[in-house]
């Protein structure tokens, strides 16, 4: 017990001595007057130098703030002049930027579709291109940021178009002895003889009479419904098809559909499954 108390006293004394020594910057007990004067002069010199430096920095800072305000003023003035040249204002500029961003978003959405989807919506790609061409006419298109954005949108549209091309339908070259029914029934074509109508209606430019095809004619064999097209399925009729929202959205417009496909529809009351109808816009 006695030893413990003694140890504690020794430790506390050591701590007290340690703190006393380090509480002051200098050991004033052993300091000579020359040393004191030297220290005081050194700190006074550092203080003077720092204050001089602060004064100089303050002056430079004030000058820089003034310069910053001046340059900002020139920027604002140049923007005003730019708006004037474009016969618009900041709101117009912002609206133009929003239009570009929206177009980029739409183009990216199309780009993210499968090649088959893009192929079937190729008219949407054309619409995006038309919108971009229109936006390119705006004077704000010439600013560096917008020009960069326009280039990136053009790139996305081009990529979407290329992606859609990979889904372009394959072709079939007619051989001696072929007829549409036989071609459609082939396993690598449709595997269904009744689908001859699809070959016929997809190749109207080459087939005038479905009973008369010639060797070496090259027919497209569509796997997907192309843009502005409708593939008739069992149970459909013209007014029903015309009523679809992606066709005309109104059954009463069946005549428009009929007019566009008159060459392959002999009776408007009868349309056959596998017929590919063109949707005139």
């Amino acid at each position: 017990m006695k030893i413990k108390t003694t140890l504690m006293v020794i430790v506390l004394s050591a701590l007290l001595a340690f703190s006393t020594v380090f509480a002051q910057s200098y050991n004033y007990e052993e300091m000579t007057q020359e040393q004191y004067n030297a220290y005081l002069a050194e700190w006074q010199g550092r203080l003077d130098a720092a204050q001089k430096g602060i004064d100089q920095e303050n002056a430079t800072i004030e000058q820089l703030k003034k310069e910053l305000d001046d340059v900002q003023g020139q920027i604002d003035q140049t923007w005003d002049e730019l708006y004037k040249v474009a016969s618009s204002d900041k709101a117009g500029y912002d609206a133009y930027g929003s239009s570009l961003n929206q177009l980029k978003s739409d183009a990216t959405a199309v780009m993210n579709m499968s090649p088959e989807e893009i192929y079937s919506k190729m008219n949407e790609v054309d619409q995006l291109q038309a919108k971009l061409d229109e936006l390119k006419k705006n004077p704000f298109a010439a600013t560096a940021d917008n020009a960069q954005l326009i280039n990136s949108i053009q790139s996305v549209i081009d990529q979407a178009r290329e992606k859609g091309k990979t889904a372009v339908p394959p072709s079939y070259t007619v051989m001696r002895g072929d007829y549409l029914w036989k071609i459609a029934a082939k396993d690598d074509i449709y595997g269904d003889a009744y689908a001859w109508m699809r070959i016929y209606t997809s190749n109207r430019d080459q087939i005038k009479n479905p009973d008369l095809i010639f060797p070496n004619q090259v027919f497209t064999i569509p796997r997907q419904v192309g843009p502005n097209e409708h593939l008739v399925v069992k149970g459909e009729f013209l007014s029903k098809i015309a009523g679809y929202s992606d066709v005309y959205g109104s059954p009463f417009k069946w005549q428009k559909l009929y007019e566009a496909n008159k060459s392959i529809i002999s009776d408007p009351n009868v349309v056959y499954p596998y017929t590919v109808l063109k949707i005139a816009r």
Binding site: Y36, Y39, W43, L47, E57, L64, T78, K137, P139
Partner: protein
């Protein structure tokens, strides 16, 4: 006489020892002055470092704004050229 000489020698010796052992010591006022000067110098040096950082930050901002001004001036020229081309068509 002899005892007086011994006394004087002893007195001289004691005086010498006293003088050497009791040297100059800074007063409380002097200690306070040195400590305050040191503290003020360190504080001023810290302020100076902050001011230098503030100045550098402003220099960077001015540089960026000058670049922005140059860009806007080019944009204005490009817009002007675009308008001229549109009008020419």
């Amino acid at each position: 006489m002899k005892s007086l000489r011994i006394f004087l020698i002893l007195l001289f010796g004691v005086s010498t020892i006293s003088i050497t052992s009791c040297g100059w010591k800074p007063s409380d006022k002097e200690i306070k002055q040195l400590e305050e000067t040191k503290s003020a110098a360190l504080s001023a040096e810290k302020t100076l470092a902050d001011k230098k950082a503030e100045r550098q930050d402003l220099e960077n901002k001015v540089r960026a704004k000058k670049a922005e001004l140059e860009k806007v001036q080019k944009d204005k020229q490009n817009v002007q050229n675009h308008v001229n081309e549109q009008n020419a068509q």
